[in-house]
């Protein structure tokens, strides 16, 4: 399962890049100390993304900002701080409350590192950052306007929080508003709007505090359990002229090492696992980096235990065609269950306690929680609760397990592994067998839609960048998720509207690796943030979006049908409020309107392969494309 060019290498590269930045900036800081004049901004050439940007083309490449004898804008200093954080991109929907910072990003920084991504809605901006962070292994910067931009972005911020994903958000506001517009866009405590679902927020009242808070926020965002952070920045502060002599020192970014579980507790966990007759491993949001993926394989194979990634909660921390993938088969009754970054083990723990079985939790969730949003699940009285990041704890757990494996236990493990492998092979065969039903029918079956895709991307280095909440397990069964980046996880908070912008953000991260990104998104999801199609087209983000178009919020249709039936008041109108038809929406025309290549509606399976081929040719050439597939509900 070795992965030559993967997220781990990328992450290492990013860390080295960041270290380089640190060194470079330190040297720069020394130079500043010797000669109190800030370095002149670089002049950069237009990037590919700029080629379509008329405003940029008219203004030409960035020219040096005239340095006033008094100093330069504080927002230039803020950009220098942000450069320490190694942001490649900043997603924005423009707002006057961060116009100072916006101008500095364009003209002082030359729209490089970070490069601006123009979003047409703040929810799309934050959701792009959410998807990007999971694929890139580091956060994206997002800037929003006071109150209104913040509220627009808050939904996606909540999803990132629930998914334990870092997003770095800056909200601009006028602390001393005077006009009818600025007054409602200011707040005495802007952070309170989203405080329930960010790990850290601060109002930065001086440049020095901005620098320290930015570095602290980044550190907190990246320390497991990871999560979004927020800085509120006054518009006047951004526009203040900062004399060179008053320019504060920018501290170095110190990356925290993730917390590891207590060694005695880890030893006890290993003892339980090795002694167990039928252990099971349940990874959820384990793979912060590809190292977590490798370690999970190592532990599973050392124990020859099944590895069940669950339905929606994981970041797919185990290869889906691996013989140990799954729950071990119908007859497998676990006597020791190890949850790794599993947010709710309460039901498992209760059931285990009634039958003498053991449960173990290794999770950073034990270290930190807010109290308002109930995403922390119910209280779980597991037998062993180890507070620590699972990925960071796995090396010591694996080492302890290996120490305890005797030749006798190894023999038992080998036999167990063979049984599990057979069960997985049979289960996979049954799934593939089920894919044949309705194979040639119209609307197109979901497995046909996915199998046809799999055939077209077989020789690509691909990544599915959307979730799989509404396509069941078909993705995992019909596509071989054999690399950590093949799957990017679901939305986190079970809120619709993440998949499309999240796919665009993740595709941007994969673009740097030359990977082919595919998002399979519902028509319901696409309608939340269709403007992100323009963002993908404008910034030339290669991505194939397949619209799983079933013309309804189908999960809700079924739920309302059940409600109607339970109350005995008629089922014939259960679709009202959930169907998206009469008129049906043309997503192909929608994509074209946003400047994206598109085809559809594709109603017959015989037309799928050719449509995929044409669209993938565009994507491989560096453009986004959309295929509207009229598909069965599930």
């Amino acid at each position: 399962m070795a992965d030559s060019i993967d997220r781990r290498d990328f992450f290492k590269g990013a860390a080295i890049g960041a270290a380089g930045l640190v060194v470079g900036t330190s040297e720069k800081a020394g130079a500043v100390a010797a000669e109190p004049v800030s370095p002149a901004p670089r002049v950069v050439l237009p990037t590919d993304a700029h080629a379509n940007d008329l405003a940029y083309a008219q203004s030409g490449p960035a020219s040096p900002v005239p340095v006033s004898v008094q100093g330069r804008p504080a927002s230039d200093f803020m950009v220098d701080v942000l450069k320490k954080l190694d942001f490649d991109y900043v997603a924005i929907n423009p707002g006057s409350a961060f116009a100072g910072l916006h101008e500095s990003l364009i003209n002082y920084s030359g729209n490089r590192a970070p490069e601006i991504l123009t979003a047409l809605h703040e929810e799309a901006a934050v959701a792009m950052a959410h998807g990007y962070a999971k694929a890139a292994g580091k956060p994206m910067l997002v800037c929003v306007h006071g109150t209104v931009g913040m509220l627009h972005g808050s939904m996606a911020l909540f999803q990132a929080w629930a998914d334990r994903v870092p997003v770095f958000l800056i909200v601009g506001q006028h602390r001393n508003p005077t006009g009818i517009v600025n007054l409602p866009h200011s707040a005495q405590d802007m952070g309170s709007i989203v405080r329930d679902f960010v790990k850290f927020d601060d109002e930065t009242t001086t440049p020095e505090r901005f620098a320290e808070s930015a570095l602290r926020a980044y550190q907190i965002a990246m320390t497991p359990p990871m999560g979004p952070v927020l800085l509120s920045v006054d518009a006047d502060l951004q526009e203040e002229i900062l004399a060179d002599k008053d320019r504060p020192r920018i501290p170095e970014l110190v990356r925290t090492s993730p917390p590891q579980g207590d060694s005695n507790a880890v030893r006890e966990a290993a003892r339980l696992l090795v002694a167990a007759e039928s252990p099971i491993l349940l990874p959820r949001k384990l793979g912060r980096t590809p190292r977590g993926w490798d370690l999970m394989i190592e532990l599973g194979e050392a124990l020859q235990a099944p590895v069940d990634v669950g339905t929606y909660g994981s970041w797919q921390d185990f290869p889906s065609w691996h013989p140990l993938w799954g729950n071990g088969g119908a007859g497998y009754r676990a006597d020791v269950t190890l949850g790794l970054e599993m947010s709710d083990m309460s039901a498992l723990a209760r059931a285990a306690r009634t039958s003498g079985r053991k449960t173990i939790s290794i999770s950073s969730e034990h270290l930190f929680q807010h109290s308002n949003i109930h995403d922390y699940g119910r209280y779980a009285d597991v037998d062993l609760a180890i507070a620590g990041d699972a990925e960071a704890t796995l090396p010591s757990l694996i080492e302890e397990v290996r120490k305890l494996i005797t030749p006798d236990r190894k023999r038992v493990f080998t036999e167990r592994g063979a049984r599990i492998a057979t069960a997985h092979k049979d289960a996979h065969a049954r799934y593939v067998e089920n894919a044949r039903f309705g194979w040639d029918n119209s609307p197109i079956s979901v497995p046909r839609m996915i199998a046809e895709l799999g055939e077209q991307i077989r020789n690509d280095d691909w990544a599915v960048v959307s979730g799989h909440q509404f396509t069941g397990d078909w993705q995992r069964r019909l596509l071989n998720f054999d690399k950590p980046y093949r799957y990017n996880g679901d939305n986190g908070g079970f809120g619709i509207g993440y998949d499309t912008p999240g796919s665009v953000g993740a595709a941007l991260a994969h673009k740097r690796q030359g990977r082919l990104s595919i998002g399979i998104v519902g028509d319901g999801d696409l309608n939340f943030q269709p403007g992100v199609l323009w963002t993908a087209a404008h910034h030339k983000i290669p991505l194939l979006l397949i619209v799983h178009n079933n013309r309804a919020y189908h999960a809700e249709v079924m739920i309302v049908q059940r409600m109607c039936g339970n109350r005995g008041r008629g089922n014939a109108n259960a679709h009202i409020g959930s169907a998206i038809s009469e008129p049906s929406i043309s997503y192909s025309q929608m994509a074209k309107a946003y400047g994206m290549y598109s085809e559809g509606p594709i109603e017959h399976p015989k037309d799928l392969a050719a449509a995929y081929q044409r669209a993938l040719a565009k994507v491989r050439a560096g453009e986004p494309a959309l295929i509207d597939v009229i598909a069965q509900p599930r």
């Binding site: 029918n441 079924m558 005995g568 089922n571 014939a572």
Partner: protein
């Protein structure tokens, strides 16, 4: 939504075994054409079972219940995921039944479908 999905998966897994053990029921007596209209547009049975009655879950094709048993089940289902259809006239349910019985099973053998055979072969080679 998650709990509903789990129920659906469990039912999906058990249906083929039931089908294998049950003989084909007597012919339907209803109006299949009218039943299709009811299936797709009035009661929207397709939401769970697919437009063709075989791509959703549980699969309805081939229908192994007898007509009376079908009507009784739809009115008072024994599985949590299935909505109760208490008030539709019996004629409607009989017509829906007739439509379901009229749907041909569109399920070629998996190993006769090159795409699926390719997946089976690659899965076998991957381990």
């Amino acid at each position: 939504m998650k709990s509903a999905f789990v129920v659906i998966v469990v039912v999906l897994a058990t249906v083929p075994a039931l089908m294998a053990q049950t003989p084909a029921p007597p012919p339907a007596t209803g109006d299949a054409k009218r039943g299709q209209e009811l299936f797709e547009k009035t009661y929207r049975c397709y939401a769970c079972h697919g437009y063709d009655g075989q791509t959703g879950s549980p699969r309805l094709v081939p229908m192994m219940r007898a007509q009376d048993a079908f009507v009784a089940y739809v009115r008072k289902p024994s599985t949590a995921g299935m909505p109760k259809f208490v008030d539709p006239p019996e004629k409607d349910l009989i017509d829906v039944y007739a439509y379901i019985r009229s749907i041909p099973l569109a399920a070629p053998q998996a190993d006769s479908i090159p795409l699926l055979k390719g997946i089976i072969d690659r899965r076998a080679k991957s381990n």
